[in-house]
């Protein structure tokens, strides 16, 4: 190995080391913010639990046998939990830009020598960890309150599928994270619209078969469709990871992350060209 090769290898190691510290920095910062906004987060968690309860209580108002009511309640609960989980992912990843713009730190973050993929993946990683904790809390609280019985539930398979689906969710989140860069005023709201549309076509509280044909076609490219189907099966029937749900999620994840990064990069370029990074508000 020549001295030039050694230097190059050292430089590569140094770059990787710095990127990993940058990744840690993003997660650490979000932990600080969660700690500082703890009461706000707690209030938001209670609101999510109450909101999920309003949906799950629908099962108690329909004329079904207790076993069928339990099944319907579980299906609705899984829908509510996935809605909350996806909401957190979109919210945190979208906040990559929106929150920093509001605080006025965005320019300092964007002029730092950390790569954008590391920055965005750091946000996504924290979103998944935080989302999993919150989704579990919502599930346990609502299941206990309503009295849902799922003796055969395979929780590890459900969590594993949620983790696999998260890759795709982060990719889609990256695409929506760019919206506040392009439109500081409307970008965040458009992120919520994207989240809502994804869940509408994915059968969040109903089977996708009840949707119009064109919506069913779109549901095939939504990762939430496979996450909802697989997790319901794991919780209700104790099913393990089904390849039919896993492979579409892997394929969507494989495309959504690079596309998300590409979209974000284009948005960042547009923002730099038109002076949209500047703090507003």
């Amino acid at each position: 190995m020549s001295s030039a090769d050694v230097t190059q290898a050292f430089t590569r190691r140094r770059v990787l080391h710095n990127e990993l510290i940058g990744l840690y920095g993003v997660v650490e910062r979000n932990l600080y913010l969660t700690k500082r906004y703890f009461l706000w987060d707690l209030a938001f968690l209670l609101w999510t639990i109450a909101n999920t309860l309003t949906i799950v209580f629908i099962s108690r108002g329909v004329d079904l046998s207790p076993a069928e009511q339990n099944e319907l309640a579980t299906k609705l609960l899984v829908g509510g939990v996935i809605w909350a989980f996806l909401g957190i992912i979109f919210e945190i990843v979208t906040e990559t830009v929106a929150w920093e713009r509001w605080e006025g730190t965005i320019e300092y973050t964007f002029m730092a020598p950390v790569s954008r993929p590391v920055h965005l993946i750091g946000m996504g990683l924290y979103a998944v960890l935080y989302g999993l904790v919150r989704a579990s809390a919502v599930f346990v609280a609502v299941a206990a309150f309503i009295g849902i019985h799922v003796p055969n539930a395979n929780y590890s398979a459900a969590l594993a599928l949620l983790a696999i689906a998260s890759v795709s969710f982060i990719g889609v989140g990256m695409m929506t994270a760019v919206l506040p860069l392009i439109s500081p005023e409307k970008g965040t709201q458009l992120g919520f619209v994207a989240q809502g549309l994804m869940l509408v076509v994915s059968g969040v509280y109903y089977p996708v078969e009840v949707l119009p044909d064109w919506m069913q076609w779109i549901s095939k490219i939504s990762p939430a469709t496979y996450a909802l189907r697989g997790i319901r099966d794991s919780i209700l029937n104790g099913a393990g990871l089904a390849w039919d749900d896993v492979w579409p999620l892997l394929v969507i994840g494989l495309f959504s992350i690079p596309i998300g990064l590409l979209v974000f990069k284009s948005g960042e370029r547009y923002a730099k060209k038109h002076g949209k990074l500047k703090r507003s508000g």
């Binding site: 140094r14 080391h17 710095n18 510290i21 940058g22 840690y24 920095g25 993003v26 650490e28 910062r29 600080y32 913010l33 500082r36 906004y37 605080e103 006025g104 730190t105 320019e107 300092y108 973050t109 964007f110 002029m111 730092a112 020598p113 950390v114 790569s115 370029r269 730099k272 060209k273 038109h274 002076g275 990074l277 500047k278 703090r279």
Partner: protein
């Protein structure tokens, strides 16, 4: 380009904003700006609000893309080798810009991670750098929103210095500060000049500050750099006794003159 620490040639920036459904309003923020800075030099760019100072700083910080021209920092192309440039540069702007609920130490740690500084390193360096800017140790854990503007600006200086930049971009670092805080920040800038190998670009509309701190003073007016020379050379050239008089001689306007509608738009766009 040249071997100067900072070399800017024919830099152009135009902003446009939508006016109504179809029309777009265009305002030139920088027009063919050209200058060089030597390593270790402190250059002050004077100009009214909306003159293009912040646009220049944002371009050199890789936060904007130009519409023409080029710029290098220590031989690295600012727009083609942005990541290399980012490692060399840091900035203090008029707004301190922090996560308001986080403490000074937490904000500095967040900034430092992006420059490859791990927890062990920042655990040692952050108290030292905060001590140097005169930040009380007892307030390190306090949320930024509870600190005065002057204190926040000191933390902003600490944040910039923590990453050991070879080019420090100071964009109106003392604007809006009370006289005492202003003096403290200026003293610290002098200290940086004496103790570090930093090259400093100071954008300000405070003529005295420019005269006191910089080796050379430039005047940016409506996007054009009218001169960049030592203060005595500027005064000689315009036969003026003060920089205010030189500004009047160069532009035909008083420095504090009322702005035209176009100036105000430029200020908002830039």
């Amino acid at each position: 380009m040249s071997s100067a620490a900072v070399a800017v040639r024919d830099l152009e920036k135009v902003f446009s904003r939508r006016k109504g459904l179809v029309q777009r309003r265009r305002r030139t923020a920088l027009k063919g700006v050209t200058f060089e800075m030597e390593r270790g030099e402190c250059v002050a760019i004077l100009g009214q609000n909306g003159s293009g100072k912040s646009t220049l700083v944002r371009l050199l910080s890789t936060l904007l893309l130009p519409d023409g021209g080029e710029a290098t920092i220590f031989g690295n192309d600012v727009f083609k080798e942005a990541r290399k440039v980012r490692r060399l540069v840091n900035r203090v702007s008029v707004e301190a810009s922090f996560f308001k609920k986080m403490s000074a130490a937490e904000n500095l740690a967040y900034a430092a991670r992006f420059y490859g500084m791990g927890p062990r390193e920042t655990h040692v360096k952050i108290p030292i750098i905060l001590g140097r800017v005169g930040f009380p140790p007892s307030r390190r854990g306090e949320a930024m929103e509870n600190l005065s503007r002057g204190m926040q600006q000191k933390v902003a200086l600490a944040r910039a210095l923590l990453t050991s930049p070879v080019l420090l971009l100071l964009d109106e670092p003392t604007t809006g500060l009370d006289p005492r805080s202003k003096q403290e920040v200026q003293t610290f800038i002098r200290e940086i000049r004496e103790r570090h190998d930093s090259t400093i670009l100071l954008c300000t509309h405070d003529m005295k500050e420019a005269e006191d701190l910089a080796d050379r003073v430039g005047l940016l007016d409506r996007g054009e750099l009218l001169f960049l020379e030592r203060v005595d050379e500027v005064l000689d050239r315009y036969g003026a006794d003060t920089l205010e008089e030189a500004f009047f001689a160069a532009t035909g306007r008083e420095f504090e003159d009322e702005k035209t509608e176009e100036d105000e738009e430029r200020e908002v766009f830039a």
